[in-house]
């Protein structure tokens, strides 16, 4: 298999290998299980997925794997918009934290996942929700700007 040296390929391969190693270390009890982390097997799974992307990119010519000028411009616009959305979301979360900690407002069970940090699963932690909002906003903005044309 002929590997082509491009930047993306190296980043993805390294990331995949690190994920797999962490997963293995956790499964073999080399690093202590904190009780909150996702099991090692999912770490290995994501590592294999990222490694596969890296290996695919390694076989693609750089001119094909790297985005063209229009895609680059679109991505910059998308990320710039997503930055605003994520900042607004973090502000909202911080505001809700402030309101609840001062016990001045009670919205009942509707925002239960935000209300009891101790009970939250990893999936619904605030950090994960920020990453989730960022991914969704990037996807939506990309589709919108792609449809709109004229970036």
């Amino acid at each position: 298999m002929k590997l082509i040296n491009n930047k993306r390929y190296l980043v993805f391969v390294m990331l995949g290998l690190v994920n797999i190693l962490i997963g293995l270390a956790e499964m073999l009890k080399i690093i202590p299980y904190s009780g909150k982390a996702t099991p090692g097997v999912s770490m290995i799974g994501s590592g294999i997925f990222v490694l596969a992307i890296g290996l695919y990119l390694s076989r693609t010519r750089e001119s094909k794997a790297m985005p063209d000028e229009r895609t680059k411009k679109r991505d910059m616009k998308v990320h710039s918009g997503a930055l605003g959305i994520v900042l607004a979301y973090v502000t909202l979360l911080a505001l809700m934290d402030g309101l609840w900690s001062s016990n001045t407002i009670n919205l009942g069970g509707f925002f239960l996942i935000f209300n009891h940090p101790g009970d939250m699963s990893v999936l619904f932690s605030r950090y994960m929700s920020i990453i989730f909002v960022a991914i969704v906003s990037v996807v939506v903005l990309t589709v919108y700007l792609d449809k709109k044309g004229d970036v």
């Binding site: 911080a94 934290d97 001045t104 990893v122 605030r126 950090y127 920020i130």
Partner: protein, 128 residues
């Protein structure tokens, strides 16, 4: 002094007035601290609106270069902020010490806003 009264300016004033109103309600019924912040923000926006309304519209139209600088700064600031969130999330999951979001939110906000401002300044200076 002639003031502009086009749709954009009116929308801006409506938003800032709305912010002041929400701030007053929060000040009275919920938390004086948060309400006060919103009132202050609304008043600052009103002053900014008055300044913008006193200038011709053409003065605030961004040129192509400024738009590119903004997008580039926003793009990099977004990745810096997401990296911080991912690192905090990993620390929260894998270490025995939980990083409370209440303390981390300020850090995330500051890093997001200041990296954007610093990068904008840097790209403006650097040029093409």
């Amino acid at each position: 002094m002639k003031m502009r009264t086009d749709k954009d300016i009116l929308k801006f004033f409506a938003a800032s007035m709305g912010m002041v109103l929400v701030g007053v309600l929060l000040f009275v019924y919920v938390s004086p601290f948060i309400g006060g912040g919103l009132i202050l923000g609304g008043l600052i926006l009103t002053v900014m609106g008055l300044y913008v309304a006193s200038k011709p519209k053409e003065e605030f139209v961004q040129d192509e270069r400024s738009k590119r600088v903004m997008d580039k700064a926003g793009h990099h600031a977004f990745w810096i902020m997401m990296d911080i969130v991912i690192v905090l999330s990993l620390i929260n999951q894998f270490s025995l010490y939980a990083v409370e979001f209440k303390s981390a939110s300020t850090l995330i906000l500051f890093i997001g806003i200041y990296s954007f401002l610093i990068l904008k300044w840097y790209y403006n200076k650097k040029g093409e």
